[in-house]
Symmetry: C2
Subunit: 211 residues, 2 copies
């Protein structure tokens, strides 16, 4: 496997999709697949898929196809899904609650260890067995734990200040659902901005193009 | 403005980001901006931004920059945000509830007119003033209304069957939060799949690359 730093982020962004489909095949006890079959399921061309997987070298054999288990494990390793990076959630409103309940953090490389909100009515309640703490307890929490990632489900007005204070506390990565882009100018901080409204606007465009 | 069908989806996907930043400028009563300023806020290169906006022609003047209101309105039109396309939500669990509460549908081109769930305990409750109906009432609802888009917040096991029955009822577009890709082989059906877990896995990769 070549140094994955050489792989473009566009290729990396397609790997989770392959990973999910391979998981489905595994669950159906299917042991091998082809770029043609993946292509039909995923909606990318077979040649795109071959090209993507060739980036990592050694996958697939001409005339045999791909070994499902092997490819699944390798993609999981490339994505770092075995890391169990410690993460905390900031903001336990509707969205934070849905994200926590909906996501399978453990199988996606993370371990959720703390939930924080500044609303005293939410503090003390639990989501998925984790008690919501007051945001004022963040300093103490970081003293005892070393969460590397913060999931931000907070209003955009407070996102810049809170993300900066989390960086000061030692956070290295953000999964950001706030309605603002966190643009990292620091190469030691990584960010995934989730903009549901961008996806909705893209759908609006697609709908407008329908005959 | 050229026919927007000629514009690649990659460019279209960046337009919502421009649109959001222009909205922020408008709210700060800022009337003009430059590709350099947009570049700093958005995290794309100024030349990428100029190239994107040139696709639509006529925006910006050398030495003056962009008129914020004009650019905002034009991008809104390209994205079809003035359409008010009728949409329904299928699945009023945690995620469906969060999406409904969190999204500003009206300013993103849509009007949410119905919410459906098969859980009798949820039927009759309201989200944002819309009463949750039983999924069994879908046929009658479509008889009286013509929702063009369905937002799917349902388990992946039921997504294929439900999306097919919605297509049969007349749905032309899906905003799909289910853990499965709806791949449209019909050019008259458009889909935006939202895979939060793909974003989380991409973050896992980025975190794994940190020194």
């Amino acid at each position: 496997m070549p140094n994955s730093k050489e792989i473009s982020l566009a290729v990396i962004r397609r790997l989770p999709r392959y990973y999910r489909f391979l998981d489905e095949l595994k669950q159906q006890n299917i042991y091998k697949t082809s770029s043609k079959e993946l292509s039909e399921k995923i909606g990318l061309t077979a040649s795109q898929i071959r090209q993507d997987l060739n980036c990592f070298g050694g996958f697939g054999q001409q005339g045999y196809g791909y070994n499902v288990d092997e490819l699944y494990d390798e993609i999981g390793k490339i994505l770092g899904l075995d890391q169990q990076t410690e993460a905390i959630l900031i903001g336990a409103g509707n969205l934070g609650r849905a994200v926590t309940n909906h996501m399978d953090f453990v199988n996606r490389g993370f371990k959720l260890t703390g939930i924080f909100d500044q609303n005293p009515e939410l503090v003390g309640q639990s989501i998925k067995g984790i008690e919501i703490m007051n945001t004022s307890q963040l300093g103490a929490f970081f003293y005892n734990n070393k969460p590397k990632v913060a999931i931000l489900c907070i209003p955009k007005t407070v996102a810049p200040a809170i993300s900066q204070s989390l960086i000061d506390l030692g956070v290295k990565g953000f999964w950001n659902f706030s309605h603002c882009d966190i643009v990292s100018t620091n190469s030691n901080i990584v960010v995934e901005n989730v903009h549901l409204s961008d996806s909705l606007m893209t759908l609006s465009y697609k709908v407008s193009q329908l005959k």
